[in-house]
């Protein structure tokens, strides 16, 4: 803006995969965005610039790009998209790191495994449905004053805390070769559930009260689309923005499901 910052200004090209709505063809548009070094510009601030100046690099007037955002601190998971081919949050994608030079290009695409609503905005309802599949809650009796919850050691807390940081962003699913885009919500139930809900199974089974639903959760893990659909490609853990040990969760739930199934085999319960 000011002359003092002119010297550190550069132009970044944003190549954006757009689509006007579900079932509509996708198309690419390129936008030039001026960015100043050292001012903390990220993909969000650039998309904000594009929203205010919806004119493509070749001068075509267009509509602002649609995308989802929330906290902009990488704790809500809303602004997840595919940046330069890889899935991540756009708020933490800093321009000075990923596009330090004049003319650098950034490509933005919507997440690949969720139905597109418009442009970079996808519908991740399936993710929340999958949390219902695994009964991802502690079955408390009621809301009245019944004293404290179960005692927990710091070690147990440390394990559970890490798992509880999952913000349901869907990166683990988007990067997974076993997880596919399904538009028809009737088909979600039997499709691979993905790493995050498996990790939630572990999280809730580790809680004393939560474990009262352990059998039902492990049944779901043993059902079609459950844990055995995992192919151990382990992209999930590489792309979890919260560094949740997803592959450990998968192995731990795999162990529990194995033991559970053996018990079931012999006891029928």
């Amino acid at each position: 803006m000011t002359t003092a910052t002119q010297s550190k200004a550069r132009t970044i090209r944003f190549k954006i995969k757009r689509s006007d709505g579900p079932g509509k063809p996708s198309y690419w548009q390129t936008f030039n965005v001026p960015v100043n070094k050292g001012e903390g510009a990220n993909v969000i601030s650039c998309l904000q610039y594009i929203a205010a100046n919806p004119i493509t690099a070749d001068g075509t007037a267009t509509t602002p790009v649609a995308w989802k955002a929330g906290c902009l601190e990488e704790v809500c998971g809303a602004c997840t998209m595919v940046i330069n081919g890889k899935v991540r949050q756009s708020c933490s994608c800093m321009m000075d790191t990923v596009a330090p030079n004049e003319g650098d290009t950034i490509t933005l695409e919507p997440m690949r495994k969720f139905p597109v609503v418009r442009d970079l905005f996808v519908d991740r309802a399936r993710l929340f449905e999958s949390l219902k599949r695994v009964k991802a809650w502690v079955p408390t009796d009621n809301l009245w004053d019944l004293g404290a919850g179960p005692i927990e050691t710091p070690e147990q807390h440390e394990v559970r805390y890490k798992l509880s940081e999952c913000m349901s962003c869907g990166c683990c699913m988007d990067a997974c070769p076993q997880f596919h885009k399904i538009e028809d919500d009737a088909k979600w139930q039997n499709a691979f559930i993905g790493a995050a809900p498996i990790s939630q199974v572990r999280y809730f089974n580790l809680h004393e009260t939560g474990a009262t639903l352990k059998t039902e959760r492990l049944n779901e893990m043993a059902a079609k689309g459950g844990i055995s659909d995992c192919g151990n490609a382990q992209n999930c853990v590489k792309h979890c923005p919260k560094s949740i040990p997803l592959t450990e969760s998968i192995a731990a739930v795999g162990r529990d499901t194995t033991i559970h199934a053996v018990k079931q085999f012999f006891t029928g319960k």
Binding site: K86, P177, A223, G231, A251, R255, A261, K269
Partner: protein, 274 residues
């Protein structure tokens, strides 16, 4: 919504059971057999004390072929498990879509390679068993296997048949080497994922350490397999035939009934061109 399992359902859900059996079959009996098979083959190179490689190998083969109900063992212990593991494996593999193009990480490559070696390994096993066990020598560049002439017929087979051209020799040789290495990879990596799937290695550290162990195992098996391959490719076929004929003559002269049966059996099954 919170209804418990439908009473009509089996105690252990079928998809899960099939998955676990699929995983188990890869290790037992298939994996165990592969280990045995490759070490047996490698005996052509070193041989036992006082004996040549050809003799040792012939001994091993004789031992195997002396087993009672061999065909039933083969059908139920090998061919059906392999068919089960392969058919389900194909089905499972088709449920995935590799994305190494975007996510070129080691584990993801191994995931893709596991599926590719599965496809390739299956074709290789089919060719291998069909030509050397079932005697489908009408397949290109192929010849059969004679249990009395174990080393020499094996050597011929992997050099492209009885009348090899340079191309046939190269193609079949390459098929064998790549096929064996592919299956070794498939087994070693399968061993690694087996431990995760069954929940044996849970922590990242355990998975990493078990990964080193599986890598070591894979490299060792690859060395064994390659050694056998080199052994057969460099085998002096005529000398081997002499040794084998001698051994066979000794056996026939001894007139062991079991062996005679076996010999008859084999003569019926394989197209013996000599």
């Amino acid at each position: 919504m919170s209804e418990s399992a439908n009473p009509a359902q089996p105690a252990v859900p079928t998809p899960f059971l099939l998955r676990r059996l699929h995983s188990l079959a890869g290790l037992l009996p298939i994996g165990a057999f592969v280990i045995m098979h490759l070490t047996t083959n490698a005996s052509v190179v070193w041989g036992e004390l006082g004996k040549g490689g050809v003799e040792t190998y012939q001994h091993e083969v004789n031992f195997i072929h002396s087993m009672p109900l061999l065909l039933l063992i083969e059908i139920f212990g090998l061919w059906l498990p392999i068919a089960f593991h392969s058919i389900l494996g194909f089905y499972y593999a088709f449920t995935g879509t590799s994305n190494v193009k975007h996510y070129g990480y080691g584990a993801n490559w191994r995931y893709a390679l596991q599926r590719f070696t599965g496809y390739f390994g299956f074709i290789f096993i089919l060719y291998h068993v069909a030509t050397l066990r079932w005697g489908w020598t009408w397949l290109p560049f192929s010849s059969g296997f004679d249990a009395h002439m174990a080393a020499s017929t094996t050597a011929q087979a992997i050099r492209g048949g009885m009348d090899p051209t340079a191309l046939a020799g190269f193609l079949i040789g390459a098929l064998y080497l790549v096929g064996v290495l592919a299956l070794v990879y498939h087994l070693a990596n399968g061993l690694w994922t087996f431990a995760i799937t069954w929940g044996i290695t849970v922590s990242e550290g355990a998975q990493r350490r078990w990964g080193f162990a599986c890598t070591g195992f894979g490299l060792a098996m690859a060395a064994v397999g390659t050694m056998a391959f080199v052994g057969f490719v460099t085998l002096d076929i005529e000398a081997a035939q002499q040794t084998e004929s001698q051994m066979h003559a000794e056996v026939v002269n001894a007139d062991t009934p079991a062996i005679n049966e076996l010999a008859d059996n084999d003569n019926n099954n394989t197209t013996h061109q000599r």
